[in-house]
């Protein structure tokens, strides 16, 4: 009995397939395993992950690792990917401050203008001056309401800002109704004596006056120049339930604008494009530029910093000098990123136009031989670097029922989207494109303003649901699911992710519909253009219609909606396209590892 293992080292996962070469020249597959890739693909750090995956697969097959006759590892494509995101416009710091938030229960819809004064100092208030009273949480609702009722006749009290969640309680006890904001945690940061405008939205509506620059100008009597400076404030208050804008006339006026910059694409000549023109124009230029040798950004601009950041990172992982690093492909996508607004008292942000870029760097041939020798040394098993990744993936993909040559594969991984086309003669064309799963994760993270990458990763992976009662959830497709036992009350009313039998709570308070829309759009923005780009590069004569069938493989082919998105759009070109099912059992995973085991036969 001869045991052979195929090992595929990818950007994010390392996959193993174990097969037995029987006497009759057939391969019997025994087991498989998948582990997170340790270190950057193609470095000796990978050995750790490979060993773990081999252990896993061999114990499943019921043999010790030392029983292996041969380990075949892939000649990994010499490309590594990275992603970066930069806003195109830098927000101007303004001379006003503001608070905008969504308390669940503000009171007394409307707006009010007045000078800020704390409840403690209200006794010293001047007659005839309009006031907005602030009260910290140490004053109870009965005390606050009592004070206001007592002084309302004497002083002109126009509105209130409370720290505690008691706006309705106070309002219910007031003789004269005024707008009241509550749950303002940073009440200590609200400066006394300054002119402020507050607004509480009507139920079911967002604020109208303070999310409009002219509205702020009307309430705070701003000059046209001052109105210009409150635009970011107005923008960041869009969609809020309640808001405060404070005029701080002696604040620092700083304009801090970093130009967005130009992108330089080098092929046979140098192409220049302004990043302001947007992702579509950049991608169009890239398409017509021919064979790209390097991509660069204008120094000291946003895009320049972004690309040099990518190159620095790449230089570090590949141990090559930075000036040797060449970016040979990028995928640019338009996106929105939250930018903190100057003058925000509670970290409010506004969404600014941004561009997300996945870049791909061609490295020197990866030191696979070093990995092989090290692995062989540590395990005492022969290790062979065998076969080009794309060929192996195609071989593996051919084990999908219903496929035949010529066959194209679209390998959607973490760092890059690769395509290969094999025809009946076994000749192969292949391409690697920057941008895949990692870019999707980054887009989801920035557009939803998530602080943790792990959350964005989970949102990418799992469908959403809302816990509508302790006994049922409503899924994003509208269906309901009921439980025998009550769910933990901590999940009640929350948006959750359905990860198998487990529910993961999303704490950000973003509506389910918004999360779903951002998620789908991020996937579409990355994989639609990339699938088209990759497939037309390998298609005979660059014509998509001449590809008869496409098998989707790689981690992102397992996604619950990406394959369907691609199938729909490729159907327009009359291409049979579907998720691979390697060895009839593995789904789209394990194609390369399977191909490596299979190719052992062909090699002999």
């Amino acid at each position: 009995m001869r045991l052979i293992a195929g090992v595929d080292i990818g950007n994010s996962t390392t996959e193993v397939c174990v097969g037995e070469a029987a006497g009759d020249g057939r391969i019997r597959f025994l087991s498989e395993a998948s582990r997170r890739t340790t270190g950057t693909k193609g470095t000796e750090a990978n050995v750790h992950g490979i060993k773990a995956a081999l252990d896993d697969a061999m114990s499943r097959a019921g043999y010790p690792v030392s029983d292996l006759e041969l380990i075949r590892i892939n000649e990994a494509a010499p490309v590594i990917g990275d992603t970066a995101m930069e806003t195109i416009t830098q927000t101007v710091i303004t001379e006003s401050s503001m608070i905008g938030h969504n308390p669940s229960t503000p009171a007394g819809a409307g707006q009010a203008v007045g000078y800020l004064i704390s409840l403690e100092h209200l006794m010293q208030g001047q007659q005839g001056t309009p006031y907005i009273v602030t009260a910290s949480a140490k004053h109870g609702y009965e005390e606050v309401a009592g004070e206001i009722n007592r002084l309302q006749g004497v002083l002109q009290i126009e509105g209130m800002i409370l720290q505690a969640d008691e706006a309705v309680l106070v309002e219910n006890r007031l003789n004269k109704k005024i707008p009241i904001l509550d749950e303002v945690r940073e009440i200590g940061m609200v400066p006394e004596g300054k002119l402020a405008a507050i607004e509480v939205a009507l139920p079911g509506q967002p604020v109208r006056m303070l999310s409009n620059p002219y509205g702020i100008a009307t309430l705070l009597e701003l000059t046209p120049e001052e109105t210009q400076t409150v635009i970011p404030i107005a923008k960041s208050l869009i969609g809020k339930q309640s808001a405060v804008v404070i005029k701080t006339p002696h604040g620092n006026v700083q304009e801090n604008k970093l130009p967005a910059g130009k992108l330089f694409i080098k092929s046979d000549r140098r192409h220049v494009i302004d990043i302001d023109e947007g992702a579509d124009r950049i991608m169009e230029l890239l398409k017509t530029a021919g064979a790209v040798t390097d991509i660069d950004g204008e120094p000291d601009t946003n895009v320049g910093n972004m690309l040099s950041g990518i190159k620095k990172g790449m230089a570090k992982v590949s141990h090559e000098p930075e000036k040797e690093i060449r970016i040979t492909d990028i995928l640019a996508v338009d996106t929105l990123a939250p930018v903190e607004v100057g003058g925000a008292l509670a970290g409010e942000t506004c969404m600014e136009k941004a561009v997300g870029i996945a870049a791909m760097v061609k490295t020197q041939k990866l030191p696979m031989q070093q990995i092989a020798s090290r692995l062989s040394q540590e395990l005492g098993v022969a290790v062979k670097v065998a076969g080009v990744e794309a060929v192996m993936a195609s071989l593996g993909a051919l084990t999908t029922p219903g496929t035949k040559l010529p066959l194209a594969i679209l390998d959607m991984g973490g760092g890059s989207t690769d395509a290969a086309l094999i025809d009946e003669n076994g000749s192969i064309r292949m391409t690697h494109q920057a941008g895949a799963g990692e870019l999707v994760t980054m887009l989801i993270g920035t557009e939803l303003g998530l602080s943790e990458r792990a959350v964005a990763e989970q949102i990418k992976r799992y469908p959403l649901a809302k816990v509508e009662s302790l006994y049922h959830i409503r899924m994003e497709n509208g269906l309901m699911r009921f439980f025998e036992e009550a769910v933990d009350p901590r999940y009640f009313g929350h948006v959750v992710l359905l990860a198998g039998d487990e529910m993961i709570r999303i704490d950000e308070g973003i509506p389910m519909e918004k999360i779903a829309a951002v998620r789908r759009e991020a996937k579409r923005k990355v994989f639609m253009p990339n699938a088209m780009r990759a497939l037309s590069k390998v298609a005979p004569g660059g014509e998509l219609r001449r590809i008869p069938n496409v098998v989707l493989v790689g981690g992102c082919a397992e996604d619950f909606e990406i394959p369907e998105m691609l199938m729909e759009s490729l159907a327009d070109y009359q291409i049979v396209c579907g998720r691979g099912n390697i060895r009839k059992t593995q789904g789209p995973r394990n194609a390369v590892a399977t191909g490596l085991v299979l190719s052992h036969l062909g090699g002999n």
Binding site: T105, E166, V168, N172, E468, L470, A486, P489, R490, F492
Partner: protein
Amino acid sequence: MTAKEPRILIYAWSPDAEALKQVCAGIEEEGVPVQVLLQSQDTLDNLAYEAAQESVLGSGIGMIQKDIALQLAGCPKGKNVFTYTDAAEFECRNIGANSARAVKRLPFRI
């Protein structure tokens, strides 16, 4: 009986006056109507369960002195959503708010 109006019901047996006031304040802030009905001696689980069953909104609170339980219609007796013994002021406020947030299908304050 006015129990058939849409209200959260509080079934209380010799409740602590200040605690009851805080529970009601929690509900009032959320803008949901509430009605307190004093009951004869019973267990906390029973009071909460009966209150939830009787409430048209399906949300009920049982209270004995400073022991408070929130129950929702359809949940088995004894499986209270929240139970506090000798509740602190903020716990009283929260359980009131949560009884209302259950009605409004909003996440609980914990």
